[in-house]
């Protein structure tokens, strides 16, 4: 066992150093890159154009409220609608608030006022953040106006909002994009590293008939253990980066995550072994693994949930090992527990064992085949 590990380590370091770097540092590199990208957690400084057709003191108060909101960067305050619309069409702003001409008059008379908020919906992320923030700004402004009007006029004491909603958002209360995204990206990068490293090793060994006259199960297990532990190490470095550098939470038990990840690695390593067995060239094998990575991530239900998938896509999603780890990892990190953790561990183990069985049968078949070929060659020589 020890000799086998030394051999793998020597090969990995001397002959496949780049693959070794990917195996050990892909998760950390992605964590650093994407963590830094989403460091701000939410979209802010959204460029907004304000079309103030009223130009009164009341409308200026509203403009000031918009300017003071962290989410916005007011790029222009214009009185004419056409000019403001032109700016929006030229993408100088992502949204436009239109304050109508009779704003202050209607406000004074206590009449209903419609504020138009025109947004560019092509980037729904921008659009969502800008609209929800503007609703909050307008709501606060309206409540302040209602309170001051009631005080001035001595209106009957009625609650301005008779039914209110108190919201308690668990797990990701700030709608942080890095909380939503980063955990999954890191695991996907680690998957890419471990599958590439193991598949290249398997492909090489198969070509060199390394498994001939060896205990296949034992050899496979030792190799899987070696690459699994290296991958675990890479994920732990990544996890340290996202919790230590980007201060993202990890509320769950580390042992639960480690167990889940080991089950996952067992499944994906055997999957990459099958890929290595199937492809004749290492280039085609690597291409297959690379082309698999993105659809696997998106189909896992991590971003677009299983709830929103059509049945056929749900089935495909359940065949992807990432499906059984990503959401659980995020749940463990953000809420401290995952209700499906042990069920998913079991599924990953079963998946891995089924793949390992196929791999073992394939090796047995190939060994028999090569023995048969050797016999034929001996017969022909005779």
């Amino acid at each position: 066992m020890w000799q086998l590990i030394v051999r793998e380590a020597t090969l990995l370091w001397n002959e496949r150093r780049l693959v070794c770097i990917v195996l050990l540092f892909a998760a950390s590199a992605y964590a650093l890159l994407i963590g830094n990208l989403y460091k701000g957690h939410v979209v802010n400084r959204i460029p907004v154009i304000v079309c103030d057709q009223d130009g009164s003191a009341a409308s200026r108060r509203l403009v000031r409220a918009v300017t003071n909101a962290d989410q916005y960067k007011v790029v222009a305050v214009l009185p004419e609608y056409q000019t403001a619309e032109k700016l929006l069409n030229r993408k100088k702003g992502e949204a436009m608030l239109v304050i109508p001409q009779d704003f202050s008059k209607r406000l004074g008379r206590g009449e209903a006022i419609e504020l138009a908020f025109v947004t560019d919906g092509s980037n729904t992320l921008y659009q969502g953040y800008s609209q929800s923030s503007m609703q909050a700004v307008a709501g606060t402004f309206a409540a302040e106006q209602a309170a001051s009007a009631a005080m001035k006029n001595g209106a009957p004491e009625l609650p301005p909002v008779p039914v209110s909603l108190s919201i308690r958002i668990k797990d990701n209360p700030t709608n942080s994009y890095s909380f939503f995204y980063l955990y999954g990206v890191m695991i996907t990068a680690a998957q890419l590293g471990v599958t590439a490293a193991f598949a290249i090793s398997q492909h090489y060994d198969l070509r060199k008939h390394f498994f001939c006259n060896r205990n296949i199960i034992r050899t496979l297990l030792v190799k899987e253990l070696f690459y699994g532990i290296l991958s675990l190490l890479s994920v732990m470095i990544g996890l340290t980066i996202i919790t230590g550098v980007f201060h993202m939470p990890f509320k769950g038990q580390v042992w639960q995550f480690l167990l889940l990840y080991l089950c996952f690695v067992f499944a994906v390593i055997n999957f990459s072994g099958l890929v290595a067995a199937y492809f004749k060239t290492d280039v085609a094998m690597m291409q297959c693994l690379v082309f698999y990575a993105l659809p696997a991530f998106l189909m896992s239900g991590y971003i677009w949930p299983e709830l929103g998938m059509i049945p056929a896509w749900k089935v495909i999603s359940c065949c992807v090992p990432l499906h059984f780890i990503l959401a659980d990892f995020r749940d463990l990190a953000l809420s401290g527990f995952s209700s499906t953790l042990f069920r998913h561990m079991f599924i990953l183990l079963v998946m891995g064992m089924a793949e390992a069985a196929v791999l073992w049968l394939w090796h047995e078949y190939k060994e028999g085949e090569s023995a048969h070929v050797t016999e034929i060659v001996i017969c022909l020589r005779k």
Binding site: P159, P295, L298
Partner: protein, 390 residues
């Protein structure tokens, strides 16, 4: 890859398998991702409700909630603890609690408070629940306020204004339904093209170089130019097929001019071909030509400015968006499809061409460097040195 058919010569050589993969991968990705987002919106998100109020108003609110298609009230309980358990078990993603004095509070014109608990680990699900419940409560609250004002002697017209004086009426241009296809599939199609180009062309060029099929020093520029033209045009054709497919089957918006779209995609495809040539020219072996770009290609879509805006990035990330080709095309491509025009298109195409020229120069340098060392096999090229197991 090993079964390359050689037709033509000096840069016009066609590798049928590379062409098949170049066409197949973006189309396959388009089908997969288009199918993934195809219902457009999330509906029937499981939510629980605990009606602690025995009165009529509580029942009315439950009925209102049940009519919203975005959420599905799969669990009705009489204690909050049961709802908490269901929330923790992952059975439901949101829990609504109607307080015991709900009907009484409304009758006596006292403010009442409905509680909502949301599991927001997946913000897509949390956002749907929030928007749906906030919408119902908002409308319901205005109705109650109007009744209160009418009861206090306001005329019905003024009661409405008093209950909700300032309203924000949102108008969403271009992608009014918030469709994920228009927002994300368009960018993913472009990403699929760059993935296919880099991971198919780069190892192919490396193999050509190692087999000595790359030209001599004098014709390097011509060879590279021909390659860029060939694969640039092919990339634009593949992208047109993807757009056609998405338009027909997933209903994405195609408002832009076809010629402009083709021109923009050609610029991008040509730049990515030049990038692949550069990787192919410098990578010591075909496997390395796949491994090196892994660090760039996979996360590049997130740095494209088409998902996470540049304005919210720090200086380093913003710099990265300017050195990645997709950073120039992600937004333009979607704008051309969804808006029909893109104000920054010309400048971005020019930037892409400049970036392409830079990659081209590095590719030529790499090839010439190789030509200068005909013995060729640099350290690491022979990746399969046997190490015997003792």
């Amino acid at each position: 890859m090993t079964m390359m058919k050689k037709r033509g010569c000096g840069g016009w050589r066609l590798h049928w398998r590379a062409f098949v993969m170049l066409a197949f991968i973006p189309l396959l990705y388009t089908i997969i991702f288009g199918g993934l987002f195809s219902p457009h919106v999330l509906t029937q998100v499981p939510v629980g409700i605990c009606n602690l109020d025995g009165g009529q108003q509580g029942r009315v609110l439950v009925r209102e909630m049940a009519q919203v298609p975005e959420i599905s009230l799969i669990r009705e309980t009489v204690t909050k603890e049961e709802l908490d358990k269901a929330l923790e078990a992952g059975e439901i993603y949101g829990a609504i609690v109607i307080p015991p004095d709900f009907t009484e509070g409304i009758k006596s014109k006292h403010p009442v408070n409905v509680q909502l608990y949301v599991r927001n680990a997946n913000t897509a699900i949390g956002g749907v629940i929030l928007a749906a419940v906030q919408g119902v409560i908002g409308v319901y609250s205005v109705q109650v306020a109007v009744q209160n004002y009418i009861g206090a002697g306001f005329p019905p017209g003024q009661a409405g204004a008093a209950a909700s004086q300032i309203n924000l009426s949102p108008r969403i241009l271009y992608n009014s339904t918030g469709s994920y296809e228009d927002f994300f599939l368009t960018v993913l199609m472009l990403h699929a093209l760059q993935i296919a180009m880099v991971f198919v062309l780069a190892p192919m060029f490396t193999m050509e170089r190692l087999r000595g099929e790359a030209p001599g020093t004098k014709s390097v520029v011509l060879y590279l130019l021909r390659r860029i033209c060939l694969f640039g045009i092919f990339g634009a054709l593949v992208m047109s097929a993807c757009i056609g497919y998405s338009y027909s089957f997933f209903g994405i918006a195609v408002r832009g001019n076809g010629l402009t779209l083709c021109g923009a995609v050609f610029c991008f495809a040509a730049c990515m071909t030049a990038f692949s040539l550069m990787v192919g020219a410098w990578a010591p072996n075909p496997v390395s030509s796949i491994t090196y770009p892994l660090f760039y290609i996979m996360p590049s879509v997130l740095f494209s400015d088409a998902v996470w805006p540049r304005a919210s990035m720090d200086a380093l990330s913003r710099f990265l968006t300017f050195v990645m080709p997709i950073g120039y095309m992600g937004n333009d491509f979607r704008d051309l499809l969804v808006r029909g025009n893109s104000p920054g298109l010309l400048a971005d195409c020019a930037s892409l061409l400049i970036l392409g020229v830079l990659f081209f120069a590095f590719a030529a340098w790499g090839l010439k460097r190789y030509e200068a060392k005909p013995e060729g096999r640099e350290k690491g090229e022979d990746s399969h040195v046997a190490v015997d197991c003792a």
